[in-house]
Amino acid sequence: MEKVYILGGAQTDFERNWFKEGKNVIALLKEVTNSALKNVNLTYEEIKELNKQNKIAICVGNFAAEYYINQGHLGPLLTEVNEAFYGVPSARYEAACASGSVAIDSAISKIRLGDYDLVLVIGFELMKTVNAKVCGDYLGRAAVYEKEAEGIDFPFPKLFGKLADEYVKKYKLDEKRYQKNLAKISCINYSNAKRNPNAQTRRWFMNEKQANFRGNPSNERIGSMLAISDCSQVTDGAAVVVLASENYIKANKIENKPIIKGYGHRVAPYEFDKKMKESKNNDYILPWTREAVCDAYKRTNLTVDDIDLFETHDCFTSSEYMAISAFGITKPGKEYEAIENGTIDFTGSKPINPSGGLIGCGHPVGASGVRMMLDLYKQIANEAGNYQIKNAKNAMMLNIGGSATTNYVFIVGK
């Protein structure tokens, strides 16, 4: 099988509100594509040339542009960015918040088959066109809508609030301690985001006292024990990674680029209650998430000991809590150890979300998987600037869609 290299990429500044700037999706895609091409030293002329040989493709990740910006049929959108994309095979991939990952997965297959030398993966979402409540309802389509979302305010915070409740029950945790742990997760993400020049919350204030001030008007509860500080943001943004074949790398004398070493992809029962029913006697509360991680370890012959940093899907603090044991950093039910002893801190031995994650960096739904892959690339290529983890050799990402229904894991290294 062909090796798959990451040449680089770009993300937009997640602080930006494109609707307020008066700009549309084409502006978003144009800016991120131009920065990504600049980052990998690729010109539109070269793209035309590759396309003549039918060696370049585009995979677009997006969740709900039909709702947010009244735009469907997203695959060909890049033809509006530059005519160099005329004729380039492009399609849209969707798996809710894991849309970016399913686009990456498809790009990897295209390269592994040897059909294409270069694939541009672009994930995006413009979410600030609607208010928070409407936005929550749109996102509800990533759950079993009729049962879990219709007519419910903010369905996802409620589902991940349920996950929190189930966690406390299953592992007989001290609820106060668990909530404190969640607050710390939130703060680590906010604090990491301060080092990331593209993070949405880099100017925002959060500390543990405020994150523990749940129920106050400045930190209202929104789903069971979860409050605003436990949630990721509504974000506008796009991210691009450029993947390449060994062929391309050799022909262009490119050296020392990170590769995607392996992946895991598992789907859990759609409905949250069915997930809980299924995992009743399992050590893991979300066994298919754990399974996706194990698949990635198996496919790469690596273990948790080999991974120097993680980018996880902290759509809520309760999902990052769950990820700690899914990654294998602790046993299930013992996640608090890694939070309390500093293991997952920026300076810890297993840092999670040096970028700030979804809570700190932002969560433009369709872009998040691609943004995570870009951050893995930056860490392994030693290009992460102020949020660089020293000597990072292998990095893992977990991108989930729905209530951990779609689970995608990738390992990047050299």
Binding site: K23, N24, F205, N207, F213, N216, N219
Partner: protein, 421 residues
Amino acid sequence: MEIKEITVIGANGALGVGVSAIFASFGDVKVNMISRSMEKSVIAIEKAGNSVKALKVCGNMKPYTYENLEECLKRSDYVIETIVEDLSEKEKIHEKINKYLRKGAISSSVTSGISINTLANCYSEENKKNFMGIHFFNPPYSLPLCELIPADVTDKTVLREMKEYLTEVLFRKVIVVEDKPAFLANRIGFQFINQAMQYAEQYKQNGGIDYIDTILGKFTGRNMSPLETADFVGLDVHKAIVDNIYENTNDYAHETFKLPNYVLDLIEDGRYGVKSGEGLYRNQDEVYDINTEEYRKKVNYKIDFIDKVIEKFKIGEYEEGLESILSDKSAEAEICSRFLIDYVLYSLSTSKNIAENISDCDIAMAEGFNWIPPIALLEFIGEERFKKIAKKYYNTKFIEEVIVKNLKSNYQYEKFLKAKR
């Protein structure tokens, strides 16, 4: 530098509230908030909590009045005065601060116009070393610019440590500037705004205020057009700032700081802007007509080049949008590009004179005004092209002096250029 407790004097004003909140939140510092009454201080604390969207930090703030000044000062590592911009009032307070200041503690005045060296004279030789001006922008939570203004006698180590503290702990964007009228950001910003006021008078037959504001709208790299901004700032405040610059500086742009008569008339009538319900504008939809001296409905001017720019920016075609400004032959496009040229030149020349680094003007305008950073704009236009256009208005020698070769901005220009009027 370790700061555990501070006192903010004049804590119920807009800046007092904002500054207290920044220290109480990011710094996790105890803040003694002094206002004229307990009631005002209590209200200020809640406002401060809300200003950083974190009411938990209210627990770090305590309400006091001037009767508690002595006890508060004796406990404080840092004292910030943010009272009214009046020299004799400020002097009175700083003399008191000098009297009660704990040994080794630092003190500052928040001012946008009063000389820091003059205020330093309120202090003993020992305390003088720990005194400096500090200029925040309103609201500090969303405008992180912080200008630090050392007096001639300010200790260099204290200044450096304060800069580090503000940057690393409070996440401020700090520039150190000389004790010159209005310092850096306001000098540049108010030059632009006052020149826009002058142009409004000059072009009053064409529509005046809303006409010029349309030409210098959001698409020129700002969240709000300049004359609308003046109404938000308050015309009386605007007057105080430009008068101070006009009287106490004498650079090449001196005459652009002269307040136009119609603005003086508005101020005399108590029409200060948003805070008094009317100023250059009234309600959402009315504007002051300089010609008739009455308010009228705002006009939706048909200016073709602006429509073209917005159409291009909307789809991210920034170069093409810029081209629509710079190569359009209409009188309106000429005014627009003239302002862009003036803005870059005045920013660079002022920065060169009163800041530590020439690139500080970028930090000043991006983080204090949310305007397109001048060096980013220069890079966007392109050095050679910029010089060519500038030659229409300035002599070559001056341009060559100001436009240092290969200036590089740390900012991207795109997000500042709105696809909006």
